[in-house]
Symmetry: C2
Subunit: 150 residues, 2 copies
């Protein structure tokens, strides 16, 4: 059992864990968003409406950072939400570089209707794991998610 064997075994374990992580996340995420898709919203559109509901008025830069997406992407998704009458986009006099994005009444009604159902979907799906397992999974993900390159 030399170092070569151990190296291969370590790699096998890492690849196996990695692929399971990808597949599980993909599966849960797709299933959880079904009720969102059924309402004609994309995952990105829903993400922006949700951020506006919980954080209030935001500019596009804040939204891009919150959702970890590029600025160009946010421009497009916001414009599609504006076309659907779900959010408003306006420049204010303070600093004319910013656009301020907010929910319209229609957008607020929609996300207030959708979010509780979404949270329930997540809760039901995660209930495959016990409370302790969920806490453990969260801790492992937090450790893994930390970007510790030196």
């Amino acid at each position: 059992m030399g170092s070569h064997y151990n190296g291969e075994s370590e790699q096998q374990r890492a690849l196996d864990c990695f692929i399971k992580l990808l597949r599980a996340t993909e599966s849960v995420n797709t299933e959880v968003h079904k009720s969102v898709f059924a309402e004609g919203l994309s995952e990105s559109q829903f993400g922006i409406l949700e951020a506006l509901l919980h954080l209030g008025t935001l500019n596009q830069n804040q939204i891009a950072k919150k959702l970890l997406k590029s600025g160009g992407n946010i421009t497009l998704v916001i414009d599609n939400l504006v076309k659907q009458g779900l959010v408003s986009k306006e420049k204010r006099s303070e600093d004319r570089r910013f656009y301020w994005i907010d929910l319209t009444d229609k957008g607020r009604r929609l996300i207030e209707h959708l979010f509780p159902r979404h949270a329930e979907n997540i809760t039901k799906r995660m209930a495959v794991l016990s409370p302790e397992e969920q806490i453990l999974l969260g801790k492992l993900c937090r450790k893994l998610g930390k970007n510790n390159k030196q």
Copy 2:
């Protein structure tokens, strides 16, 4: 501490675990594919080359199922790989509904060069977790990934 409180607490735990899972997966996946992007390949293109390397000649339907993507998507990504001269696409006489996809010499050289580096990247990144933690994470993901709707 009535059932309402417990319901909220259960939901909080589930949402917290869910968001950590999404973020960690996104972070690891993006970082791990950096050397792939640096070679001018997309994640999907790399996925197809990898499948062909490990499984041999496949038709588009098999590739779609393996990568959990739609048929239309596979048509496009394969055509882009054909344009780059990395895979071949041919109909055979047996059943003329199928296109058979295989690595070209150029494609094989590329993926044989890239895959070991990719596996190393995954191994390095997953090494944030101990071997035991990786095994545990894999088990939790496997349990979670199972689509048990009744």
